[in-house]
Symmetry: C3
Subunit: 473 residues, 3 copies
């Protein structure tokens, strides 16, 4: 029963349509989710910065508007720092590549990471410095992690690895937690983000340039320097630095000599072992079990944690509010799928969520069908592309010759999947006689239809049907 009470979020009501009718235009077919075609989307522009770039998908596309989300991808170089920022909507991050550290700053949470002289691993120089510092805790993340960030919570990230750190970021702009309008907004606490940076439209079709861009800036610029000096108790020159007027580095900056922060020693890089203990180590007492110590990270990539596994077809893992409770607050969840060569994920629909799919490796043919029984998408989806599957729309995936891996963000903290074929499918739940009558087939055929596929929802495939047609209009 519990499953039932995880209510969906976004209310996408037909206001455009309502208005249109009132003003005499016959347009009942229009509306936020009157989607004629869905496309596999790539980023439409990017913003470069000193230590990397951020690539934006065009959130004004019909399917993103319907789902009420926006998507972007940070590419952060080694020793690159994403400046502190907060957003008007809850955010899910998937680490596509690399490793990093990050911090969430929540007013009122204690600064629990304190420097001390006992720390063995710090150099003489560090010791004297860190002696005087203390800050809120710091998390680690690496490829395959999902990180959940509440609306309005400031955070930063830093690439402390040996390769590029690539983050895929979903903003759930239509989430209840966002009381502003559906436009994505980013409030930076530093720098000169987006200004003076070269903006790169990828294609001409992105057209109305400038308009389509996400809007953000450094909030300190809106305050008076004199006021800033006073509230921070510093001189005006330092206060002016907060505003970053002449900062040409953008929102991703390079920390030349590497970032020095206080954090627990890793036992010889035994990253795998540490994460078993939960995000911030053990939970010692009741006092710490607040939002300040909430677990906000979960690895989705490990094969050993698969929820569905078929050695001939692939695996499927989910993270929802049962495995990561903060997702109940964010009303979001995520899934990770791996299909082997030519394998198929059963046709299915989500009862209570939109699903935003990003292919991380290989390719897949996808067919997406609306309520009229029309394919709004039928084509290949390749690595790096995003496809939105609206709530209730039916979809089937067939991996190509290289197999296919993807991550999906779902707009419900416990997205309920319904399959059409396989061992747990809706069709299996039907009496054979209903099937025989509905499809005008014999009982023997009906039984075959129900019971032929014994796999749950990842099926081994022949490859016969996985070569998709070109996406049809």
């Amino acid at each position: 029963m519990g499953k039932l009470f995880l209510s969906a979020l976004s209310l996408l009501l037909l206001f455009g349509s309502t208005f249109a009718v009132r003003s005499g235009t016959a347009s009942w077919q229009k509306g936020e989710c009157q989607i004629g075609n869905i496309n596999a989307q790539e980023p439409s522009y990017s913003i470069r910065a000193e230590a990397g770039e951020t690539q934006f998908w065009d959130f004004k596309n019909d399917e993103f508007q319907c789902a009420g989300v926006s998507i972007l991808r940070h590419r952060i170089q080694q020793r690159g720092l994403l400046l502190p920022v907060y957003h008007n909507s809850p955010v899910l991050v998937y680490v596509l590549k690399g490793r990093g550290i990050f911090g969430l700053m929540i007013s009122g949470c204690p600064e629990t990471y304190e420097s001390s002289q006992q720390s063995r691993e710090q150099s003489q120089e560090d010791r004297s410095r860190s002696f005087r510092d203390r800050h809120q805790k710091i998390g680690e993340s690496r490829q395959g992690d999902i990180v959940a960030i509440p609306a309005g919570a400031a955070h930063w990230a830093y690439n402390d690895g040996q390769e590029e750190l690539v983050l895929l970021v979903l903003h759930d702009d239509s989430n209840n937690a966002n009381q502003l309008d559906q436009n994505p907004r980013s409030f930076y606490l530093a720098g000169n983000p987006g200004r003076g940076q070269e903006q790169q439209p990828y294609r001409e079709h992105g057209s109305r340039h400038g308009e389509q861009q996400q809007q953000f800036g450094n909030i300190f610029r809106g305050f008076d320097v004199e006021t800033l000096a006073e509230v921070f108790g510093v001189d005006e020159e330092t206060a002016r630095k907060l505003q970053g007027h002449n900062d040409e580095r953008g929102h991703l900056i390079l920390v030349q000599r590497g970032l020095q922060v206080i954090r627990p020693p890793l036992r010889g890089e035994e990253y795998g072992r540490r994460e078993e203990e939960g995000y911030y180590g053990g939970r010692d007492n009741g006092i710490e079990e607040t939002i300040c110590s909430a677990k906000i990270r979960e690895n989705l990539d490990k094969a050993s944690r698969a929820d569905i596994y078929n050695p001939r077809a692939g695996r499927f893992s989910t993270v929802n509010s049962y495995s990561l409770p903060i997702l109940k607050f964010l009303q979001l969840s995520a899934a990770r799928g791996v299909l082997y060569r030519n394998a198929i994920m059963s046709p299915h629909w989500y009862a209570n969520a939109h699903s935003i799919i990003y292919v991380t490796r290989g390719d897949s043919r996808m067919q997406i069908v609306n309520h009229k029984g029309r394919a709004v998408f039928d084509g290949q989806v390749r690595e790096g592309q995003v496809v939105v599957v609206p709530q209730n729309y039916a979809v089937v995936k067939q991996a190509g010759e290289q197999g296919c891996e993807w991550v999906a963000f779902n707009t419900n903290d416990n997205a309920m999947i319904n399959t059409l074929s396989g061992r747990t499918s809706a069709i299996r739940g039907l009496p054979a006689d209903v099937i025989a009558s509905a499809y005008q087939i014999s009982r023997e055929e009906a039984e075959r239809l129900k019971f032929s596929r014994r796999e749950t929802f990842l099926f081994s495939g022949s490859g016969r049907s996985s070569r998709g047609r070109v996406a049809s209009a």
Copy 2:
């Protein structure tokens, strides 16, 4: 206090209006719920099928748009089967007439109805067949039942009775559970619904024909036949049958020799006794107490379960999330009213819900008043008509010479009624001196106003005032 936490759902914000102002039109009076007049509505068109027809109310009428709901009525002949279907919004069904069986298919729920050779009631032929079948549980319903169906949950229904099965269906399109826009959508899993069927507009005023129709189709048609054959492990001919291309039967089909399903034996049709045990028999252990075994049906008609009863005026029964917990998830509830000849239901308003009223027998004069103190409806409502009473609007019902019976769907899982006269009314809660001052009457008159009517909210009536005027504009 608990009562308080059942929060209402739909957010009907004034976007049309907002937009209008921005574009220069002065139209603050416009908006989703700026309703000049409410009308008693009848179906505006119907879709015929082999085994009956479905009649649709025009969901684009102002009052349905304000309430964010759509209404339809299935008339299913004997041995008629409503093909498996799911919707983008939660659904409440009221069985107006007849009896039937139905199934809800939820992915992952076990197929708990299994055939076995011990089954005494099956013929030799059935036995061999059913030996190989198993399916999810099946429910029964009969006149007076409310059945609750979550958004995105596939279901079917079958008329196994001796007369027509008539179902009144409410879709709560503006429910939080629907993340698409407010248009009603039906996703069929079989057949050729709505295509090739004769569509019957009832009146010319329905005008913009085609546009106003609900949209639905068989989702299998959007998939490639080759893909379907592969995912079901059947040949392409069978797969093609799933798409129902040449099926002329529509969404309601006739099962000529009657539907054979596995279900527990009825003890000599002792339907009344069985339902005491809960919907799906006893709850044996903890494992089954999940969404898979949630009770989704409740009979509203039995006089013995009335919540309010006045032997001289009538009775009133409600089903809400206390009596049927799944309604907490759907955020809907229902009520059934019976008024005897000339009896009156006290003027009242719902604090937290729209109320969608369908008259099942007799007729009633209704007066509905908005916040300006203007009657937006004053007229007779007859059997088969629907009236929407928006949240907070005040309404009074006076039964005609034949009495009046109705069912009401409310858009809150615990709709809170406030009456203006009678033993539990708001006026009763006022100090007599407030009444005397407010209405400029003596204290004696104030006391009479408070205490004259000792009944709760169903009043015996003289019939003097029950002959309504024609609905005034």
Copy 3:
């Protein structure tokens, strides 16, 4: 963790914008919360009545539309009675001045205040009268109280003090509990509110007069007199009185000889003592602990209950769903701030709420900054003015020479504040090295930035930066 689950309410989606794009207009910058400038607002018109006047802020201003709220102020003379009324949205009232009594009428709650002959304090005349009366309980309120009223709950108020009673009223029109559109609506149960009254526009800029007015009337006027007579069991003359056709007193009426109601004796006006016991006296048994006896009032003014206190800067008090549980249902909260001469409230943002600020005494310079880093407001706010701070926008307050006091309504039952400077600030949570890198300053400067201000978020000020510029466009 509990803190996390207090989810925000309003969904302000970009429909105007969506529609505009569909119809060819390039207007992605438009939308409910695309606010170019915020202004300190004063009432734009008022409605006079016999016993006072009600002053309305123009709810169609961009900032009120973004926040989805409307604001008004009742000025009720001594012995003035606000006629019984209910609204389509939850309401928070702050008592600016004076004292009064009020009643909330909830259908089904018992009439627990009964008259009896033992009552020592009543005169002979009163005794005979009150012997026959009983009504729902009555509450008291005085300056500094917050009173919470659920949507659709009828209520009245009466000035029983020795001076004017001034009430500041917030309607949360975009609250989930309101299923109508976002327009504020008031349903009066008596009188002739707003009709025949002189309406006073304060300024020409209020322009489109008539349109902008809140709409309300006496709901009894929409009912047939004959029907009213029957449902109340009174003659038609009395019934006609309910409609108040010739009542010229408006919505605030004068009770010439004072209102006589039944209520517990005050022990020599020991108001302070009584309120410790909870709103309606002790809670004797389980039966009364329902919505009928929910506490709906809390005093925010007492210095002794301050949540934040700095003897050199001021104090800050909040009332949320932890201190007043009914606010969980209303999804609203409130705060009261007092800044001494030249003191400063740290720059901050609310993660999950809009904040509607009303200055009750003195003045303050405020700077409000949006996500682009632009000041949408920079100016003085004086006593009696309202400023809306949208969710996530950063704001700083600097009291003037006279200090500043204010009350703030927040659109979340547990609004989460994030500060930029001070002991619990986001900046404090950052590692010093992140600060040094982000702002291109030395570690010493970074440490000064973090640790200079040791106060929580109310800072003593020099007054240097508190003389604001004129609000810039």
